[in-house]
Structure formats: structure tokens, C-alpha cells
Symmetry: C2
Subunit: 247 residues, 2 copies
């Protein structure tokens, strides 16, 4: 068996032995005219549900292609159960943040509207495209759920109390995030990052008064929200998640 | 005394009580024509050496401005002694990585040329501009040293043995980066991130055979180099650096 193909594509269709999938136009153009793949060249496919598959490209004229599934490369596996909640940022930084969250294994992305939020409308299709791009490039076979924006008070009101929420609070004293996270049991986790202006005093109080919330500090320097996102998700993975050896 | 001014500028000039500094043309244009600051408006200045100062803007016609120093806001303080070494990336990702490293307190940035490196030439002026931008926006008063690119073998040959080098090795078994870093004493630290293709087997062997090198794994998912940068610098800050309470 040859190596895992370096070209990876996300597709919507079900993936199974013997299936033949018709590419959408954009993908056909990418494979045939951008990458100029030869007939019979193999690529990897995933859909977020059926694992990763080796598929053969079959050209159908200049503008369309079929993908014939050859064999499963990896079964679908559950990634971390790690929700990432964030005040939406402006375009390029939001793109970047979504890509990073996916690389760090976030299983669900929830835009949260807060008082100091500077962006109210979120392009969910664009978020999804960024998530797919990150998964394609980083060899992932899971894709996060993507939620519509939700107000912070509603989010807190409807919270699943069995899920720990890590609140990255710029005004929290420097207590050491590793020690603070070690106090948690792991299990279902979520990380919340506020907008560039932080949370309002009322919002911070609301969060701190919840039993499922653990406040952490990310040190003495102000960081942009997208930096804080990577920092906090990395710490949760390293202290509680799958960056540790399996028990 | 009023609040710390929200507009912050880096200047080259010495900062001291009573000093008057002439803006360069780009900064004068930014203050007068982009921000449209009124005469007498106060901003914050830093130069990486003399702390942070409150300064009053004095307009001199449409294209030039003087900055009169009013009072020191903060003395210069030593940030972390944390070097960040990295295989250079292409433009936008390098910009981003430099900004992130500065936000995470890196005191020195060293581009390292490796076998699988896809970029050989680095625009040091552009790196410096990105470092300044991050410092201006994130309230920092230190700026990192910026080195010319160096080959990995030369870097290792000339290494200060008193500085620990954290080697983020994609092929390292998942051993938990928190536990691996806790084995270090802290003190002078450096973090090394390779190119998107990782290190060659010879390079990895060279690194692993050095006593000052600690290999860590950043988990089971492939991450882009700029994501790994933020993850690794965050972990070092959190486990060994100034994200913990002072002793």
C-alpha cells in the first residue's frame, strides 16, 4: 500500500467501500485545473462522519470529475469534547481564530455576543469554510459543529452543568493557569474568550458566580483575542486533554 | 492624573523628562491626518529602553509634529528571558507569528534555516515592524532583539549551555508537555519550532543529543507552525514563566 495521499478533500457525501462521488464544480476545478491531477491519481477524502478514505480521481471532461473510493485509511474517531466559545472578531482575525481552534481540536464553535463585542454578525458559511480548510490541511477527520451567535446571558442560562467552562479573565489575578486547570476533573470542557475590550464588570460577575466556571489568567501581558484562544486551548489540551499520554 | 493614553507609539529617540521629540513623517501623518489628533492631545511613547512616557502632541503645520514628554508612566522592566527560534514562514504567516511571539513575551527572535525550510530569505525590517506593531497594540514596553537567519548546525554549535532549548518535535511520543517542562528549572529559556515539513531525521538526532535540549510533543494533531509557536510559548510561560504567581 502506498503512503497516505497528501491531497485531502472534505466532501459532504457518505463514504463507503465502492462508492463513487461526483465532485462539486469548485473541487473539480481545483483537482483538474489547479492541481492538474492525472487520471487515476489518488487523494484522501473525509466527511467528518465516515473516517478517511483513499479515492481515485476520474476525469469527466475538463470540468467534472468522479472520485472512486478505494479503501478506508482511518476509521472515524472521536476527537476531544472541547467547545470553544468566543466573541466574534473582524474578518481576517476570525478566519484565523477558527482555523486555529480546529487545529487545537475544538469540537464545537460558538460565537458569543457580549456587551463590548464589536462584531454582531457572523458569516457562518465562512466559518465553516475555514474549519474545512484547517481540517483538510492538518490531517484532521473531525469537523466542529458551528453554532449561530448566542447572547452571553442566554448561553449561561442554558448551560449543561456537567461541562466545565474555562473563563479567560483578563482581570483575574495571576494565579497560574496550570494549577487552576489541574483542579478540574477533565471530561467535558469549554473555553470562553471575550472580545478585545474584555467582559463588562456585570458579565464577569455573572460568569464568576457560576459553579461550572473556572477563571484563569493568561499572564501579565495583554494578548489579542486570537492569541488568547490558542493559548487557552493549548493549556486545556496539555493539562486535561489529549496532549497527555493515555491513562 | 488622567488614564494611560490609549494611543501608543514606538520611537527610536531617548525618552526623558522635558525631552521634545520630532516625529518621523509616517508617524506625523498617522497622528495628524489619520487619527486627526488635536493639538495638546496626549499619547504614550516607548522605545524599549526608557520605559513608557506620557507625551503631548504639538502640531507643526500639516506634515510634522513634536512630542513633548510630560511624565514617565512606567519604568522600563525586564520581560521574560525567552528566545523564540523558528524556521521562517511565508509572508503573512511570518507576520502573524512575529506578532504572536511578541505578545507572548519573546525577548529575542531568531530565524533558523533547516533542511526542509521553504523560505530562505527573511525581511528583518518587516519582522521589526511587526514586532513594533504588536508591542504598540498590546501595551508592551519591551521589544525583542531580531537576529539574522542562522543555520541550525551553527546555532547548536554556538549555543549558550545555560539556556534550555525546548524542541517541539512532531515525532516525539505523546508524553505530556506540562510534565516534560516541569522537569526544567526555568531560568533562561528558548523555544524552537521547525518548518511545516518538520525537521529532517539528522536534525532531530542532532537536537536530541544535546544536553540543553528538552523535546516535547504538542499532541496528536498536526498544527501549523504558527499555531505550534503560540502553543509552545504559552506552555513555557504557564509552566516556567511569568504566568505563574511570583515566588
Amino acid at each position: 500500500m502506498s503512503e497516505v495521499p497528501s491531497i485531502r478533500l472534505y466532501v459532504d457525501a457518505a463514504l463507503a467501500e465502492g462508492a463513487v462521488i461526483e465532485c462539486d464544480r469548485a473541487q473539480a476545478n481545483y483537482l483538474l485545473n489547479v492541481l492538474r491531477l492525472n487520471e487515476g491519481r489518488e487523494i484522501a477524502l473525509f466527511n467528518g462522519r465516515d473516517g478517511e478514505w483513499r479515492a481515485r480521481v476520474e476525469r469527466q471532461g475538463r470540468k467534472s470529475a468522479l472520485l472512486s473510493l478505494v479503501a478506508q485509511l482511518r476509521p472515524q474517531e472521536a476527537g476531544p469534547d472541547l467547545h470553544y466559545l468566543f466573541a466574534p472578531l473582524k474578518k481576517a482575525r476570525l478566519d484565523y481564530m477558527v482555523q486555529k481552534a480546529v487545529e487545537l481540536g475544538a469540537s464545537r464553535l460558538t460565537p458569543v455576543l457580549t456587551e463590548y463585542c464589536q462584531v454582531e454578525r457572523v458569516n457562518l458559511e465562512r466559518m465553516r469554510a475555514n474549519a474545512i480548510e484547517a481540517a483538510e490541511q492538518c490531517g484532521l477527520i473531525s469537523l466542529p459543529l458551528i453554532d449561530s451567535p448566542v447572547k452571553l446571558v442566554d448561553l449561561i442560562g442554558e448551560w449543561d452543568k456537567n461541562r466545565s467552562l474555562v473563563f479567560c479573565n483578563e482581570k483575574h489575578e495571576i494565579s497560574g493557569p496550570v494549577a487552576d486547570l489541574e483542579g478540574l476533573q477533565g471530561g467535558k470542557m469549554a473555553v470562553l474568550i471575550g472580545p478585545e475590550g474584555g467582559f463588562s464588570p456585570q458579565e464577569a460577575l455573572l460568569l464568576q458566580s457560576q459553579e461550572f466556571v473556572t477563571s484563569i489568567s493568561l499572564g501579565p501581558r495583554i494578548m489579542r483575542a486570537d492569541t488568547a484562544a490558542v493559548a487557552a486551548l493549548s493549556l486545556v489540551n496539555a493539562v486535561l486533554g489529549d496532549w497527555r499520554p493515555a491513562d
